[in-house]
């Protein structure tokens, strides 16, 4: 069990570093989603199923959706701005 949770921890740290060093924001967000899922498994190992279900629903679910929608919104604002420039 210790080995398994150590592997999970190494994954967690790799994910955290990956977020900082990835170039693409979309990839960063996907890595963050993976981070949340691994964290949720880690909660299970720590015998806290309440936290696991909350982290899976809130961290990997809603927060990531909000990140994606933020990114999408930013892209659409950029596109609109570029179109306006073209029109001028």
């Amino acid at each position: 069990m210790i080995t398994f949770s150590m592997v999970l921890i190494v994954f967690l740290i790799i994910c955290a570093l990956g977020v900082s060093f990835s170039r693409d924001l979309l990839i960063s967000i996907a890595i963050y989603m993976a981070f949340s899922l691994i964290m949720s498994i880690n909660w299970l190992i720590l015998e806290s199923p309440d936290l696991a279900i909350t982290e899976a629903a809130v961290g990997a679910g809603v927060t990531s959706i909000l990140f994606f929608i933020t990114l999408k919104k930013i892209h659409s604002i950029r596109t609109t701005a570029e179109e306006e420039k073209k029109d001028e």
Partner: protein
Amino acid sequence: MSKPNPNYKGSFWEHLAKWLRGEYDPVKGRLETKAVAKKTAGKEEMQSFDQSIQKIGKYDMRMFEEGIDRQVGRYRVVYRILSVVTVVFLISLLLWTVSYMPNFGDPNAPTNNEVSQRYIEKGMEEMGTVNIVTGMILGYRAFDTFGETCVLFVASCCVLFLLRVDREDDPQSAAVEEMNDRHFEPRNDTILQKVANFLVPLILIFGIYVVLNGHLSPGGGFSGGAIMASGAILYLTAYGFKKTHRFLNEKVVDAMKAGALILYSFAITYFLYTGANQLHSIFGPGTPGNILSAGLIVFLNIFVGVEVACTMYTFYTLFRRGGI
């Protein structure tokens, strides 16, 4: 008036008068080089500490082109080293502290004292909850949880403040938002709709199950509410705003949210007031294990669930187009 002093220009009085008028800065170029050496970096006077550490993050070549001299580059290197040193210091400080803490998984750690003992041994009897964590956050420490719901509420108010578009008062920006929303949006995607048809009821039922069984099994208002919200979000993504509006428009969501919060605050006031004044509460713990047990906790879970679901759904719609 006295006659003008020939030595006036450049004198102390001229400087004073200029400073009073706001044209002259008495310490510019003198003080900041001595006392706050790091402030020489930019042309701005108040280049402050956290701005400076933010600048280490990345070499931004444009900064050099903007005519800020090479000094900035040198300072950035210094700050980069400084920040690395700070990080290493913080890690070693915390690790050093951790090494003095009780071991991980130690049954004799100071945390396992009479408090957790009572929660475990008496929790089911006093609160009627099989899930001890729920009994703790909604029973023993109910005030904290009410505060936490208020955190979500105040955050949703701030987001409303920032992003809401008033469709009646400001139709122009509403139209812009509508157009923005159309970008990158698949319209009437059949696969998505079929999948949503299948999944949305399942997700919603699961969410309701998690909320209602909060006192019996893992989960509770927060997780269940988030699950229900994700079901609603999936439906919205598949079918678009028009179809969703038939049963989930702004008024319904706001009314649900406000209603749940008002009922929650009434319930919590009753709970706290009776507790503090040693009055008899009409909501007893009931038979542990039944769905209608645990007194107020079932209702508190439902209120929290509805509030969380509505808030998350509002976040999503606000982010997408500034309103439901």
